[in-house]
Protein backbone atom coordinates (compact mmCIF):
# COMPACT_ATOMS: atom_id res chain seq x y z
CA UNK A 1 0.00 0.00 0.00
CA UNK A 2 1.04 3.57 -0.63
CA UNK A 3 0.86 5.60 2.57
CA UNK A 4 0.64 9.30 3.31
CA UNK A 5 1.72 9.93 6.88
CA UNK A 6 0.33 13.11 8.41
CA UNK A 7 2.10 13.99 11.64
CA UNK A 8 5.80 13.39 12.12
CA UNK A 9 6.01 12.95 15.87
CA UNK A 10 6.97 9.77 17.72
CA UNK A 11 4.23 7.78 15.97
CA UNK A 12 4.41 9.26 12.47
CA UNK A 13 8.21 8.93 12.34
CA UNK A 14 8.03 5.28 13.45
CA UNK A 15 5.43 4.53 10.79
CA UNK A 16 7.71 6.11 8.16
CA UNK A 17 10.63 4.13 9.53
CA UNK A 18 8.89 0.74 9.70
CA UNK A 19 6.46 0.80 6.73
CA UNK A 20 8.98 -0.85 4.40
CA UNK A 21 9.37 -3.81 6.78
CA UNK A 22 5.64 -4.42 6.46
CA UNK A 23 5.73 -4.22 2.67
CA UNK A 24 4.30 -0.72 2.36
CA UNK A 25 5.65 2.40 0.82
CA UNK A 26 5.48 5.95 2.15
CA UNK A 27 4.63 8.37 -0.64
CA UNK A 28 4.10 11.51 1.46
CA UNK A 29 4.87 12.83 4.93
CA UNK A 30 3.66 16.03 6.56
CA UNK A 31 4.22 17.79 9.86
CA UNK A 32 2.63 21.03 11.03
CA UNK A 33 4.58 23.26 8.66
CA UNK A 34 6.06 21.18 5.87
CA UNK A 35 5.67 18.14 3.65
CA UNK A 36 7.58 15.86 1.39
CA UNK A 37 5.84 14.11 -1.47
CA UNK A 38 7.46 11.43 -3.64
CA UNK A 39 7.74 12.72 -7.15
CA UNK A 40 7.92 9.33 -8.80
CA UNK A 41 11.16 10.20 -10.57
CA UNK A 42 13.15 7.89 -8.38
CA UNK A 43 13.08 5.09 -10.94
CA UNK A 44 12.52 2.03 -8.67
CA UNK A 45 9.37 2.60 -6.67
CA UNK A 46 7.81 5.92 -6.00
CA UNK A 47 8.31 6.20 -2.23
CA UNK A 48 10.11 8.84 -0.22
CA UNK A 49 13.39 7.87 1.42
CA UNK A 50 12.39 7.14 5.05
CA UNK A 51 15.87 7.69 6.48
CA UNK A 52 16.20 11.04 4.76
CA UNK A 53 12.81 12.19 6.07
CA UNK A 54 13.54 11.15 9.64
CA UNK A 55 17.00 12.72 9.50
CA UNK A 56 15.70 15.98 8.11
CA UNK A 57 13.03 16.16 10.81
CA UNK A 58 15.70 15.61 13.46
CA UNK A 59 18.14 18.11 12.01
CA UNK A 60 15.95 20.89 10.69
CA UNK A 61 12.60 20.31 12.33
CA UNK A 62 10.83 19.93 8.99
CA UNK A 63 10.19 16.95 6.75
CA UNK A 64 10.51 18.62 3.35
CA UNK A 65 10.03 21.75 1.29
CA UNK A 66 6.37 21.27 0.44
CA UNK A 67 3.22 22.52 2.08
CA UNK A 68 1.38 20.13 4.46
CA UNK A 69 -1.62 20.25 2.09
CA UNK A 70 0.52 18.61 -0.61
CA UNK A 71 0.66 15.41 1.42
CA UNK A 72 -3.14 15.31 1.65
CA UNK A 73 -3.38 15.64 -2.10
CA UNK A 74 -0.74 12.99 -2.83
CA UNK A 75 -1.49 9.72 -4.58
CA UNK A 76 -1.83 7.36 -1.61
CA UNK A 77 -4.00 4.33 -0.82
CA UNK A 78 -4.23 5.01 2.89
CA UNK A 79 -3.72 8.12 4.97
CA UNK A 80 -2.09 7.64 8.37
CA UNK A 81 -3.42 10.28 10.76
CA UNK A 82 -0.86 10.90 13.52
CA UNK A 83 -1.38 14.54 14.48
CA UNK A 84 -2.11 15.52 18.09
CA UNK A 85 -5.34 14.33 19.69
CA UNK A 86 -7.73 17.23 20.09
CA UNK A 87 -11.17 17.36 21.70
CA UNK A 88 -14.46 18.82 20.48
CA UNK A 89 -14.28 19.24 16.70
CA UNK A 90 -11.18 16.98 16.69
CA UNK A 91 -9.39 19.20 14.18
CA UNK A 92 -7.18 19.13 12.21
CA UNK A 93 -7.31 15.33 12.37
CA UNK A 94 -10.95 15.08 11.41
CA UNK A 95 -10.52 17.12 8.22
CA UNK A 96 -7.48 15.07 7.22
CA UNK A 97 -9.54 11.88 7.49
CA UNK A 98 -12.45 13.49 5.66
CA UNK A 99 -10.18 14.51 2.80
CA UNK A 100 -8.98 10.91 2.45
CA UNK A 101 -12.49 9.42 2.54
CA UNK A 102 -13.87 11.97 0.10
CA UNK A 103 -11.13 10.88 -2.26
CA UNK A 104 -12.22 7.24 -1.71
CA UNK A 105 -9.01 6.45 0.14
CA UNK A 106 -8.62 4.65 3.44
CA UNK A 107 -7.61 6.33 6.67
CA UNK A 108 -5.78 4.75 9.61
CA UNK A 109 -5.84 6.78 12.79
CA UNK A 110 -3.46 6.94 15.74
CA UNK A 111 -5.21 10.20 16.68
CA UNK A 112 -8.01 9.49 19.17
CA UNK A 113 -9.88 12.77 18.67
CA UNK A 114 -11.98 12.00 15.58
CA UNK A 115 -13.00 8.48 16.70
CA UNK A 116 -13.81 9.57 20.23
CA UNK A 117 -15.50 12.90 19.54
CA UNK A 118 -17.05 12.48 16.05
CA UNK A 119 -17.62 8.79 15.49
CA UNK A 120 -21.04 9.36 13.89
CA UNK A 121 -19.66 11.93 11.45
CA UNK A 122 -16.89 9.51 10.50
CA UNK A 123 -19.36 6.65 9.92
CA UNK A 124 -21.39 8.91 7.65
CA UNK A 125 -18.30 9.78 5.62
CA UNK A 126 -17.34 6.10 5.38
CA UNK A 127 -20.85 5.28 4.12
CA UNK A 128 -20.37 7.60 1.15
CA UNK A 129 -16.84 6.44 0.42
CA UNK A 130 -15.04 3.46 -1.06
CA UNK A 131 -12.50 4.03 1.65
CA UNK A 132 -12.59 2.61 5.17
CA UNK A 133 -11.26 3.74 8.51
CA UNK A 134 -9.27 1.77 11.06
CA UNK A 135 -8.02 2.95 14.45
CA UNK A 136 -6.40 0.12 16.40
CA UNK A 137 -3.57 2.38 17.55
CA UNK A 138 -5.99 4.69 19.37
CA UNK A 139 -6.70 2.14 22.13
CA UNK A 140 -3.92 0.53 24.14
CA UNK A 141 -1.00 1.17 21.77
CA UNK A 142 0.40 -2.18 20.67
CA UNK A 143 -2.51 -4.15 22.20
CA UNK A 144 -4.99 -5.40 19.58
CA UNK A 145 -8.07 -4.28 21.50
CA UNK A 146 -10.32 -3.04 18.71
CA UNK A 147 -9.61 -5.88 16.31
CA UNK A 148 -10.12 -8.48 19.05
CA UNK A 149 -13.51 -6.98 19.86
CA UNK A 150 -14.31 -7.03 16.14
CA UNK A 151 -13.17 -10.66 15.83
CA UNK A 152 -15.40 -11.72 18.71
CA UNK A 153 -18.10 -9.47 17.28
CA UNK A 154 -19.28 -6.50 19.32
CA UNK A 155 -22.71 -8.08 19.83
CA UNK A 156 -21.02 -10.85 21.81
CA UNK A 157 -18.93 -8.56 23.97
CA UNK A 158 -20.65 -7.31 27.11
CA UNK A 159 -17.88 -5.08 28.42
CA UNK A 160 -14.31 -4.04 27.87
CA UNK A 161 -12.28 -2.75 30.79
CA UNK A 162 -8.68 -2.28 31.64
CA UNK A 163 -5.70 -0.18 32.45
CA UNK A 164 -5.34 2.11 29.46
CA UNK A 165 -2.95 4.82 30.57
CA UNK A 166 0.66 3.96 31.23
CA UNK A 167 1.50 7.26 32.92
CA UNK A 168 -1.23 6.95 35.54
CA UNK A 169 -0.37 3.30 36.05
CA UNK A 170 3.30 4.07 36.52
CA UNK A 171 2.47 6.69 39.15
CA UNK A 172 0.12 4.39 41.09
CA UNK A 173 2.61 1.53 40.92
CA UNK A 174 5.46 3.67 42.26
CA UNK A 175 3.29 5.25 44.95
CA UNK A 176 2.34 1.80 46.23
CA UNK A 177 5.84 0.35 45.97
CA UNK A 178 7.70 3.27 47.56
CA UNK A 179 5.07 4.61 49.91
CA UNK A 180 5.49 8.02 48.29
CA UNK A 181 2.92 10.68 47.59
CA UNK A 182 1.61 11.66 44.19
CA UNK A 183 3.71 14.81 43.80
CA UNK A 184 6.98 12.97 44.45
CA UNK A 185 6.25 10.21 42.01
CA UNK A 186 4.97 12.61 39.36
CA UNK A 187 8.28 14.49 39.44
CA UNK A 188 10.12 11.20 39.06
CA UNK A 189 7.89 10.20 36.14
CA UNK A 190 8.53 13.56 34.47
CA UNK A 191 12.29 13.09 34.85
CA UNK A 192 12.02 9.67 33.24
CA UNK A 193 9.92 11.02 30.39
CA UNK A 194 6.98 8.83 31.45
CA UNK A 195 4.86 11.88 32.29
CA UNK A 196 4.60 15.11 30.33
CA UNK A 197 5.31 18.55 31.75
CA UNK A 198 1.54 19.01 31.89
CA UNK A 199 0.33 15.55 32.90
CA UNK A 200 -3.38 16.50 33.14
CA UNK A 201 -4.51 14.49 30.14
CA UNK A 202 -3.11 11.30 31.67
CA UNK A 203 -3.61 11.74 35.41
CA UNK A 204 -7.08 13.26 35.19
CA UNK A 205 -8.27 10.22 33.27
CA UNK A 206 -9.07 12.03 29.99
CA UNK A 207 -6.80 9.86 27.86
CA UNK A 208 -8.17 6.62 29.32
CA UNK A 209 -11.69 7.97 28.92
CA UNK A 210 -11.16 8.75 25.22
CA UNK A 211 -10.02 5.14 24.70
CA UNK A 212 -13.06 3.82 26.51
CA UNK A 213 -15.33 6.14 24.52
CA UNK A 214 -13.83 4.69 21.34
CA UNK A 215 -14.48 1.16 22.62
CA UNK A 216 -18.03 2.10 23.56
CA UNK A 217 -18.56 3.35 19.99
CA UNK A 218 -17.17 0.11 18.59
CA UNK A 219 -19.50 -1.89 20.85
CA UNK A 220 -22.53 0.27 20.22
CA UNK A 221 -22.21 0.64 16.43
CA UNK A 222 -20.96 -2.92 16.03
CA UNK A 223 -23.91 -4.44 17.87
CA UNK A 224 -26.62 -2.33 16.23
CA UNK A 225 -28.51 -3.86 13.30
CA UNK A 226 -28.89 -0.42 11.85
CA UNK A 227 -26.10 2.09 12.55
CA UNK A 228 -28.76 4.79 12.64
CA UNK A 229 -30.00 3.21 15.89
CA UNK A 230 -26.58 3.03 17.47
CA UNK A 231 -25.84 5.30 20.37
CA UNK A 232 -22.88 7.57 19.72
CA UNK A 233 -20.48 8.31 22.58
CA UNK A 234 -18.25 11.29 23.11
CA UNK A 235 -16.08 12.34 26.03
CA UNK A 236 -19.09 14.14 27.53
CA UNK A 237 -20.80 10.79 28.04
CA UNK A 238 -17.97 9.46 30.16
CA UNK A 239 -17.97 9.50 33.94
CA UNK A 240 -14.33 10.31 34.66
CA UNK A 241 -12.21 10.74 37.75
CA UNK A 242 -8.44 10.71 37.86
CA UNK A 243 -5.66 9.88 40.28
CA UNK A 244 -4.29 13.32 41.13
CA UNK A 245 -5.65 13.41 44.67
CA UNK A 246 -5.15 9.75 45.64
CA UNK A 247 -3.09 9.94 48.84
CA UNK A 248 -0.24 7.56 49.61
CA UNK A 249 -2.12 6.53 52.75
CA UNK A 250 -4.97 5.12 50.65
CA UNK A 251 -2.54 2.90 48.75
CA UNK A 252 -1.02 1.74 52.05
CA UNK A 253 -4.42 0.80 53.43
CA UNK A 254 -5.17 -1.08 50.23
CA UNK A 255 -1.84 -2.94 50.41
CA UNK A 256 -2.45 -4.00 54.02
CA UNK A 257 -5.49 -5.82 52.72
CA UNK A 258 -3.81 -7.46 49.70
CA UNK A 259 -5.20 -4.88 47.31
CA UNK A 260 -4.01 -1.96 45.26
CA UNK A 261 -5.48 0.90 43.27
CA UNK A 262 -5.51 1.10 39.48
CA UNK A 263 -7.05 3.65 37.13
CA UNK A 264 -9.59 1.41 35.46
CA UNK A 265 -11.60 2.32 32.38
CA UNK A 266 -14.77 0.43 31.55
CA UNK A 267 -16.88 0.57 28.41
CA UNK A 268 -20.10 -1.15 27.52
CA UNK A 269 -22.48 -0.23 24.73
CA UNK A 270 -24.29 1.90 27.32
CA UNK A 271 -21.78 3.42 29.70
CA UNK A 272 -18.24 4.70 29.94
CA UNK A 273 -16.55 5.08 33.27
CA UNK A 274 -12.98 5.79 34.33
CA UNK A 275 -11.98 5.88 37.98
CA UNK A 276 -9.38 4.66 40.43
CA UNK A 277 -10.58 1.25 41.60
CA UNK A 278 -9.54 -1.29 44.20
CA UNK A 279 -8.20 -4.47 42.65
CA UNK A 280 -6.44 -7.50 44.12
CA UNK A 281 -2.72 -6.73 44.41
CA UNK A 282 -1.69 -9.82 42.49
CA UNK A 283 -4.68 -9.84 40.19
CA UNK A 284 -4.70 -9.73 36.43
CA UNK A 285 -5.64 -6.07 36.25
CA UNK A 286 -2.87 -4.92 38.57
CA UNK A 287 -0.28 -4.59 35.80
CA UNK A 288 2.75 -2.59 36.86
CA UNK A 289 4.66 0.36 35.51
CA UNK A 290 3.66 1.64 32.11
CA UNK A 291 2.06 -1.66 31.08
CA UNK A 292 -1.52 -1.64 29.86
CA UNK A 293 -4.11 -4.39 29.97
CA UNK A 294 -7.40 -4.85 28.18
CA UNK A 295 -9.96 -7.27 29.55
CA UNK A 296 -12.80 -8.31 27.26
CA UNK A 297 -15.95 -9.83 28.72
CA UNK A 298 -17.71 -12.04 26.18
CA UNK A 299 -21.01 -13.90 26.10
CA UNK A 300 -19.67 -17.22 24.84
CA UNK A 301 -15.96 -17.16 25.33
CA UNK A 302 -15.52 -16.02 28.91
CA UNK A 303 -12.99 -13.36 29.65
CA UNK A 304 -9.98 -12.48 27.53
CA UNK A 305 -6.99 -10.57 28.85
CA UNK A 306 -4.41 -8.91 26.66
CA UNK A 307 -1.58 -6.97 28.25
CA UNK A 308 1.35 -5.18 26.75
CA UNK A 309 2.83 -1.82 25.89
CA UNK A 310 0.20 0.85 25.65
CA UNK A 311 2.35 3.54 24.08
CA UNK A 312 5.60 4.33 22.34
CA UNK A 313 6.48 5.16 18.75
CA UNK A 314 7.29 1.70 17.34
CA UNK A 315 4.58 0.02 19.46
CA UNK A 316 1.91 2.36 18.17
CA UNK A 317 3.28 2.17 14.63
CA UNK A 318 2.96 -1.61 14.82
CA UNK A 319 -0.77 -1.22 15.47
CA UNK A 320 -1.04 1.33 12.64
CA UNK A 321 0.74 -0.97 10.19
CA UNK A 322 -1.37 -3.91 11.32
CA UNK A 323 -4.43 -1.87 10.37
CA UNK A 324 -2.89 -1.02 7.00
CA UNK A 325 -2.43 -4.76 6.43
CA UNK A 326 -6.12 -5.37 7.17
CA UNK A 327 -7.10 -2.88 4.50
CA UNK A 328 -5.25 -4.71 1.73
Amino acid sequence: MRLAVVGAGAVGRSVVDLAGEYGHEVVAVADSSSAVVADGTDGRDAGVDPDAVVARKAERGIVGDGDPADALAADYDALVEATPTTLGDAEPGFSHVRTALERDRHAVLANKGPVAERFGDLRALVNDSDGEIRFEATVGGAIPAVSTVEDIEPGHVTAVRGVLNGTANFILTRMAAEGLDYEHVLAEAQDLGVAEADPSFDVDGTDAALKCVILANVLSFGAADDPADAREFTLDDADVSGIRDVPGSALRLAAEDGRTVRLIGEATGETVRVAPRLVPENGTLAVSGTQNIVQIETTHAGRLNISGRGAGGPETASAVLGDVGRLE
Binding site: R161, D245, P247, E256, V261, R277
Partner: protein
Amino acid sequence: MSDGRDGVPEETADGEDATADGGHAATTPSTHTVRLELVDEPGQLLAALHPIAENGGNLLSIYHERGNKTPRGRIPVEVDFEATQERFEGIVEALRSEGVNVMQAGTERYAEEVTILLFGHLIDTDLSDTLSQIEACESASVADVSLAAPQGTEEVSSARLRLEARAGETEAALTAVRELAAEKDLRLVEPLTGVEA
Protein backbone atom coordinates in the same frame (compact mmCIF):
# COMPACT_ATOMS: atom_id res chain seq x y z
CA MET B 1 -4.97 -26.39 34.00
CA SER B 2 -8.09 -25.12 35.66
CA ASP B 3 -10.33 -26.01 32.73
CA GLY B 4 -12.44 -28.31 34.91
CA ARG B 5 -13.44 -25.54 37.23
CA ASP B 6 -15.03 -23.45 34.56
CA GLY B 7 -17.72 -26.04 33.97
CA VAL B 8 -18.95 -26.02 37.55
CA PRO B 9 -21.85 -23.63 37.92
CA GLU B 10 -21.20 -20.98 40.49
CA GLU B 11 -23.16 -21.11 43.67
CA THR B 12 -26.23 -19.00 43.38
CA ALA B 13 -27.71 -17.11 46.25
CA ASP B 14 -31.30 -17.66 45.23
CA GLY B 15 -31.54 -21.21 46.49
CA GLU B 16 -31.88 -22.79 43.07
CA ASP B 17 -28.94 -25.09 43.56
CA ALA B 18 -30.47 -26.20 46.84
CA THR B 19 -33.33 -27.87 44.98
CA ALA B 20 -31.00 -29.18 42.32
CA ASP B 21 -29.28 -31.49 44.81
CA GLY B 22 -32.51 -32.96 46.12
CA GLY B 23 -33.77 -30.10 48.21
CA HIS B 24 -31.91 -30.99 51.39
CA ALA B 25 -30.56 -27.54 51.98
CA ALA B 26 -34.00 -26.01 51.67
CA THR B 27 -35.69 -28.32 54.17
CA THR B 28 -32.92 -29.09 56.65
CA PRO B 29 -32.69 -26.44 59.35
CA SER B 30 -29.30 -24.90 59.84
CA THR B 31 -27.90 -22.41 62.32
CA HIS B 32 -28.04 -18.74 61.47
CA THR B 33 -26.61 -15.72 63.19
CA VAL B 34 -28.28 -12.37 62.94
CA ARG B 35 -26.96 -9.11 64.32
CA LEU B 36 -29.69 -6.74 65.36
CA GLU B 37 -29.49 -3.13 66.43
CA LEU B 38 -31.87 -2.17 69.20
CA VAL B 39 -32.86 1.15 70.64
CA ASP B 40 -31.87 1.26 74.29
CA GLU B 41 -35.43 1.00 75.71
CA PRO B 42 -37.23 -1.66 77.75
CA GLY B 43 -39.09 -4.31 75.80
CA GLN B 44 -37.07 -3.85 72.65
CA LEU B 45 -35.32 -7.20 72.81
CA LEU B 46 -38.53 -9.12 73.36
CA ALA B 47 -40.18 -7.32 70.46
CA ALA B 48 -37.26 -8.23 68.26
CA LEU B 49 -37.35 -11.91 69.17
CA HIS B 50 -41.04 -12.26 68.34
CA PRO B 51 -40.70 -12.41 64.55
CA ILE B 52 -38.11 -15.18 64.90
CA ALA B 53 -40.28 -17.56 66.89
CA GLU B 54 -43.41 -16.60 64.98
CA ASN B 55 -41.84 -17.46 61.65
CA GLY B 56 -40.60 -20.90 62.65
CA GLY B 57 -37.13 -20.07 63.95
CA ASN B 58 -35.77 -22.09 66.88
CA LEU B 59 -33.87 -19.73 69.20
CA LEU B 60 -30.49 -21.03 70.32
CA SER B 61 -28.72 -18.12 71.97
CA ILE B 62 -28.82 -14.41 72.45
CA TYR B 63 -25.73 -12.33 72.99
CA HIS B 64 -26.50 -8.88 74.25
CA GLU B 65 -23.47 -6.64 73.74
CA ARG B 66 -24.12 -4.15 76.50
CA GLY B 67 -21.71 -1.26 76.65
CA ASN B 68 -20.74 -1.73 73.05
CA LYS B 69 -22.89 0.72 71.16
CA THR B 70 -23.15 1.16 67.43
CA PRO B 71 -22.18 4.53 65.93
CA ARG B 72 -25.83 5.54 66.20
CA GLY B 73 -25.95 4.79 69.90
CA ARG B 74 -27.89 1.57 69.52
CA ILE B 75 -27.19 -1.73 71.21
CA PRO B 76 -26.00 -4.57 69.02
CA VAL B 77 -27.49 -7.97 69.80
CA GLU B 78 -26.38 -11.22 68.25
CA VAL B 79 -29.03 -13.91 67.95
CA ASP B 80 -28.44 -17.51 66.94
CA PHE B 81 -31.33 -19.63 65.78
CA GLU B 82 -32.14 -22.65 63.69
CA ALA B 83 -34.30 -22.41 60.61
CA THR B 84 -34.52 -23.72 57.10
CA GLN B 85 -33.15 -21.42 54.43
CA GLU B 86 -36.60 -20.45 53.30
CA ARG B 87 -37.81 -19.65 56.79
CA PHE B 88 -34.60 -17.80 57.52
CA GLU B 89 -35.28 -15.44 54.68
CA GLY B 90 -38.84 -14.96 55.92
CA ILE B 91 -37.55 -14.18 59.40
CA VAL B 92 -35.11 -11.56 58.18
CA GLU B 93 -37.87 -9.98 56.18
CA ALA B 94 -40.25 -10.03 59.14
CA LEU B 95 -37.62 -8.45 61.38
CA ARG B 96 -37.03 -5.69 58.89
CA SER B 97 -40.71 -5.02 58.40
CA GLU B 98 -41.06 -4.71 62.20
CA GLY B 99 -38.53 -1.92 61.99
CA VAL B 100 -35.73 -3.94 63.59
CA ASN B 101 -32.43 -3.02 62.04
CA VAL B 102 -30.74 -6.22 60.89
CA MET B 103 -27.11 -5.38 60.42
CA GLN B 104 -25.78 -8.67 59.27
CA ALA B 105 -27.85 -11.66 58.39
CA GLY B 106 -25.48 -14.57 58.85
CA THR B 107 -24.51 -17.59 56.82
CA GLU B 108 -22.00 -16.76 54.17
CA ARG B 109 -24.37 -17.20 51.28
CA TYR B 110 -26.51 -14.39 52.49
CA ALA B 111 -23.88 -11.74 52.85
CA GLU B 112 -21.79 -10.08 50.19
CA GLU B 113 -18.60 -8.45 51.25
CA VAL B 114 -17.13 -5.42 49.65
CA THR B 115 -14.05 -3.37 50.48
CA ILE B 116 -13.83 0.32 49.62
CA LEU B 117 -11.45 3.19 50.24
CA LEU B 118 -12.53 6.67 51.23
CA PHE B 119 -10.19 9.61 51.37
CA GLY B 120 -10.40 13.34 51.92
CA HIS B 121 -11.16 15.34 55.05
CA LEU B 122 -12.57 12.31 56.76
CA ILE B 123 -12.17 13.58 60.27
CA ASP B 124 -13.31 17.15 59.69
CA THR B 125 -16.39 15.76 58.01
CA ASP B 126 -17.18 13.60 61.06
CA LEU B 127 -16.07 10.06 60.36
CA SER B 128 -18.42 8.53 62.89
CA ASP B 129 -21.34 10.29 61.27
CA THR B 130 -20.15 8.98 57.88
CA LEU B 131 -20.07 5.45 59.24
CA SER B 132 -23.50 5.79 60.86
CA GLN B 133 -24.95 7.06 57.63
CA ILE B 134 -23.59 4.02 55.81
CA GLU B 135 -25.05 1.82 58.53
CA ALA B 136 -28.34 3.62 58.12
CA CYS B 137 -28.61 2.47 54.54
CA GLU B 138 -30.65 -0.71 54.61
CA SER B 139 -28.37 -2.57 52.25
CA ALA B 140 -25.13 -2.74 54.17
CA SER B 141 -23.36 -2.53 57.44
CA VAL B 142 -19.79 -1.59 58.21
CA ALA B 143 -17.88 -4.67 59.31
CA ASP B 144 -14.42 -3.20 59.63
CA VAL B 145 -12.72 0.20 59.46
CA SER B 146 -9.02 1.05 59.17
CA LEU B 147 -7.99 4.68 59.24
CA ALA B 148 -4.71 6.27 58.16
CA ALA B 149 -4.16 9.92 58.99
CA PRO B 150 -0.42 10.36 58.44
CA GLN B 151 -0.57 14.16 58.44
CA GLY B 152 -2.76 14.57 61.43
CA THR B 153 -6.48 14.84 61.71
CA GLU B 154 -6.85 18.14 59.87
CA GLU B 155 -5.22 16.94 56.67
CA VAL B 156 -6.33 14.45 54.09
CA SER B 157 -6.74 11.00 55.55
CA SER B 158 -7.79 7.65 54.17
CA ALA B 159 -10.01 4.88 55.41
CA ARG B 160 -10.51 1.33 54.29
CA LEU B 161 -13.99 0.01 54.96
CA ARG B 162 -15.23 -3.52 54.74
CA LEU B 163 -18.95 -3.52 54.14
CA GLU B 164 -21.29 -6.43 54.43
CA ALA B 165 -24.18 -6.16 52.06
CA ARG B 166 -27.35 -8.20 51.80
CA ALA B 167 -27.34 -10.65 48.94
CA GLY B 168 -27.73 -8.81 45.65
CA GLU B 169 -27.56 -5.41 47.32
CA THR B 170 -23.92 -4.56 46.92
CA GLU B 171 -24.71 -2.15 44.11
CA ALA B 172 -27.38 -0.42 46.21
CA ALA B 173 -24.92 -0.14 49.09
CA LEU B 174 -22.26 1.33 46.81
CA THR B 175 -24.74 3.82 45.41
CA ALA B 176 -25.56 4.99 48.93
CA VAL B 177 -21.86 5.38 49.78
CA ARG B 178 -21.27 7.21 46.49
CA GLU B 179 -23.98 9.74 47.33
CA LEU B 180 -22.72 10.20 50.85
CA ALA B 181 -19.16 10.72 49.57
CA ALA B 182 -20.34 13.32 47.07
CA GLU B 183 -22.29 15.12 49.79
CA LYS B 184 -19.28 15.28 52.11
CA ASP B 185 -16.80 15.96 49.31
CA LEU B 186 -14.95 12.73 50.04
CA ARG B 187 -13.38 10.60 47.35
CA LEU B 188 -14.46 7.00 47.05
CA VAL B 189 -12.41 4.22 45.50
CA GLU B 190 -14.76 1.43 44.62
CA PRO B 191 -13.80 -2.16 44.04
CA LEU B 192 -14.35 -3.80 40.70
CA THR B 193 -17.28 -5.90 41.83
CA GLY B 194 -18.08 -9.06 39.99
CA VAL B 195 -14.58 -9.18 38.57
CA GLU B 196 -12.41 -11.71 40.34
CA ALA B 197 -8.73 -11.19 39.70
